[in-house]
Symmetry: C2
């Protein structure tokens, strides 16, 4: 792993991206002992429905806590894709929800598309779990954190009534990642 990995989770308000950032941060920081800073910003860009959550994970001390160039960029809306694509690192990984992001610039070989919200609706009957599916995809594609650490953080952060569906969503995302990797080869 690179010394410092910058992750940007972006989409619309209500898609649970802040919670996803916290879960990813806790998985890496509490369950895997990494240094982690998790940030959300509110300002002109956050109004009008956009939402963005950033996680910086490092083996050592984190001096500057904001994402400058994303190593991993998740985009759940076209708006988010258009807005944050320029911040993707040159060999960064782009993960796009192809149900909603129709126009994905083919910037690098590391662009992955999956109809995340369509799959959420069809397989789990609930679009509210696209955040957790996305975390499963990130774990499956990048091994940035283990699936088990993510599961621990989900169990810790998600309220009991929806834990079961979120555990399923996490595994579903991990499987989607395996399929996307096969399709690349």
């Amino acid at each position: 792993m690179k010394e410092r990995i910058e992750v940007c989770l972006s989409g619309a308000g209500g898609q649970g991206l802040i919670l996803a950032g916290i879960i990813l941060a806790e998985a890496a920081g509490i369950y895997e002992g990494k240094e982690v800073v998790q940030t959300q910003s509110y300002g002109p860009e956050a109004r009008g429905g956009a939402s963005r959550s950033e996680v910086v994970i490092s083996e050592g001390f984190i001096d500057y806590p904001k994402v400058t160039k994303s190593d991993i960029l998740l985009v759940l809306t076209q708006d988010a894709c258009d807005k944050y694509i320029s911040k993707l690192s040159q060999d960064g990984i782009l993960i796009a929800d192809s149900s909603t992001v129709k126009d994905v610039p083919a910037l690098s070989a590391k662009t992955y598309r999956a109809p995340i919200s369509k799959i959420a609706q069809e397989k789990l009957g609930n679009k509210l779990v696209i955040n957790t599916i996305s975390l499963g995809i990130i774990a499956g594609l990048t091994h940035l954190v283990s699936l088990e650490s993510l599961r621990q953080a989900v169990l810790n952060r998600i309220r009991p009534r929806v834990r079961e569906i979120n555990e399923k969503a996490l595994l579903l995302g991990y499987e989607i990642a395996q399929k996307m990797k096969l399709e690349k080869n």
Copy 2:
């Protein structure tokens, strides 16, 4: 208001300080149109049960998003007080839960003590709302954000089943602040 206000909410894991940080950030950033960056860090200091959430609120662009010296420091445990007191700005405001923080250094005239967790238990029968009471206290002491913006953010972030008790907690905190101000005079 100073151009840039740095808030540090500190205590133990499970006290809802991350959620409190997000609510404060949304109140200022979404409902009052300020620039806001909200951060939590995980690392050696976060393990062993400590928890800390930071919010930087500014009228203008935020260049460095981490808290360097707190203008407002909330401490809900003795550990948090001992650890973060050195980061309090010279004329910063310290708010301590006197039910749990017995040894508060009398650093400045702006030290406020209230038995927050005791009041939470006695008045609302629930210690889980100390985070929301604390937000009410911050609003009442500092007018950093309006009570109405905080209420909007609470309604947006807190799940329906516990909204009522959290609205009460917010007002209770605001009242506690008024009493503390009177006692100072």
